[in-house]
C-alpha cells in the first residue's frame, strides 16, 4: 500500500466544494440551454455545494470501517447532526427558503427571521437529545459545548433580528440604518447556519 504523505493528505474529489460548485454551474448552464432558468445565485450555488459536499462526506464516513474519532460521543454527534444539516440545507436551497423571495426590507427581515426559526427547530431537536457523557454515553447524544455555543450564537442572532425588526418597522427611517441592520441580521443568521454546518461535518 502507498505511504506517500502527499497522496494520503490529498483531498478526494467529492470533498471539494469547488468541484461541486462547478458541477452545479454546469447543470444550471445545461438547464438554461434547454429553456429552464433555475435562477440560482453564486451564494446559493455555494450553499448547495456545501450540502452535497457534506452529504458525500457523511456517506463515506458511515461506510468506512474505521471510526472517524476516538471519542464515542463525537462520533455519535456527527452521525446525528449531519443528516439533519444536509436535509435542512437542501430544503433551504432547493425548496426555496423565505429570504429568496423577499423584496422589500421589511419582507427581508421577516424572511430572515422565518429562516432563523427553521435553523432553531434543528438546533432544538439536537438540544433535546440526552447530553453526552464520557462513559456510557447514550446513543444519539448532544454535546454540552455545542449546545452552549448554539445558545450563545442564538442570543446574538435574536438580538440582531430584533434590532432589524425595530428598524424596518419604524416609519420614515432612512436607507442607511435599514441596510446596516439587515446586513447585521443576515450575518448573524449565517453564523448560526455555519455553526450547524460545522458541527454536522466535523
Amino acid at each position: 500500500m502507498s505511504t506517500n504523505p502527499a497522496a494520503a493528505a490529498a483531498k478526494p474529489i467529492w470533498a471539494s466544494k469547488t468541484i461541486w460548485v462547478n458541477i452545479i454551474t454546469f447543470i444550471c448552464t445545461m438547464a438554461a440551454l434547454f429553456g429552464f432558468d433555475l435562477e440560482i445565485s453564486a451564494e446559493e450555488k455555494a450553499a448547495i455545494a456545501v450540502s452535497f459536499q457534506t452529504f458525500a462526506n457523511l456517506i463515506l464516513r458511515l461506510a468506512t470501517k474505521q471510526p472517524v474519532t476516538l471519542r464515542r460521543d463525537q462520533t455519535l454527534k456527527l452521525h446525528w447532526l449531519s443528516p439533519v444539516v444536509v436535509l435542512v440545507l437542501l430544503l433551504f436551497t432547493l425548496a426555496g427558503c423565505a429570504s429568496r423571495v423577499a423584496e422589500t426590507p421589511a419582507q427581508r427581515v421577516y424572511a430572515l427571521q422565518a429562516d432563523y426559526n427553521a435553523l432553531l427547530a434543528a438546533a432544538v431537536a439536537y438540544e433535546n437529545l440526552p447530553r453526552c457523557r464520557p462513559v456510557h454515553a447514550p446513543p444519539n447524544c448532544s454535546d454540552t459545548g455545542v449546545v452552549e455555543e448554539m445558545r450563545r450564537i442564538d442570543n446574538h442572532t435574536f438580538d440582531a433580528l430584533q434590532t432589524a425588526q425595530r428598524v424596518v418597522r419604524t416609519p420614515g427611517i432612512g436607507t442607511s440604518p435599514v441596510n446596516a441592520a439587515l446586513a447585521t441580521a443576515s450575518e448573524a443568521v449565517g453564523l448560526l447556519a455555519r455553526l450547524l454546518n460545522r458541527e454536522g461535518i466535523r
Partner: protein, 72 residues
Amino acid sequence: MTVQSGILFASQVLSLLPAVIAGVEGAAEAMRLGAATVERMVSENRDPTADEWSELNIRTAALRDRLHSDEA
C-alpha cells in the same frame, strides 16, 4: 462493504431516524410557513402586518424557550 459493516451502517441509520425526522420536520414546517407568508406578501405587494410580525415573534419565542429551557 462487508455484511457486518452493512448491518452496522443500517443500524446506525435506523437509530438516527427519529432524531433526524424530528429535526427536519420542525425545520421544514418553519420554512414552509415562512416561505408561504413571504410569497403572499410579495404577490400582494405589501409589507408584513402587525399580526404577521406577532405570529412570527410568538413562533420564535416558543423555539427559543425550548432551546434555552435548562440553561443555568
